[in-house]
Symmetry: C2
Subunit: 144 residues, 2 copies
Amino acid sequence: MLDLEDFLPYRLSVLSNRISSGIARTYEERFGLSVTEWRVIAIVGRYPGVTATDVAERAAMDKVAVSRAVSRLLDAGRLERRENHPDRRAKRLYLSAEGKSIHDAIVPAALAFERDLLDALEPEERRRFLRSLERLAEAAERHC
Amino acid sequence: MLDLEDFLPYRLSVLSNRISSGIARTYEERFGLSVTEWRVIAIVGRYPGVTATDVAERAAMDKVAVSRAVSRLLDAGRLERRENHPDRRAKRLYLSAEGKSIHDAIVPAALAFERDLLDALEPEERRRFLRSLERLAEAAERHC
DNA sequence: TGAAAACAGTTACAAATGTAACTAATATCA
DNA sequence: TGATATTAGTTACATTTGTAACTGTTTTCA
């Protein structure tokens, strides 16, 4: 007998979707950013000069999804792209001034959202939760 | 400064996607079921006679997604639909014999997968983790 | 060297998903 | 009662996403 409501994969999926779309509302309404675009901005903001492949790895996104998000962001003037010597296949990515200002507007809101969530847990409980989450991630990686 | 890799919403999303697609492989390969179809089968198997709207609520799915999954499952002979008196708008859903056999083949695999994951945590750690997860879900619901 | 394999990124097509409008049935309440 | 609103489920259209094949470049190694 399986109760979907008690089933861990299902609970994680519902929670994750709810949280993601909660945050997404912020940057969708204010900047018309999709989740993938926001992730690209977050990665490029944190690691200026990364390539699209780096972004895909760090954001656990498909390279096609990254390519599409990057091209939308370039069109919108939110991202810049420069040559990568000596490998001319890859291009280095940077936030434009506008991309930077979007980044700097979203990051505090995202962190505040995260803090609000984690404030539902006691400090010790929070540490334990994050550690357990890490163990689960390892177990999932081993298993899949 | 925001490190996507440490950001809770992102970590939850990656973990949830990894786990979901890990399980999905099982029923995709063996039965050609999508995630939504599997969820419908799980709900109808657990609560025979539910309506599509009930399924949507219990599975946190969009009613259009449910409608489409149900119609595919009906076409494949995996689901049956009977009249619901006295309200003739809604139809009651049941697993067919084939649907039941698919359900009974997947459920143990799904539960084993969940157990493998949770076995990465000590018994006490696991209880705490699940409790924290519940608190987070409440906080997210409040916040979103 | 130079032929073959691997890689970065893009494009094209198919499948999945979200949104809005729709049909048919039931509920509401003046 | 009967006009209006609500509900269950479907359909149609637009958008998003995944898969495979592609271009141009670099690496590998016989």
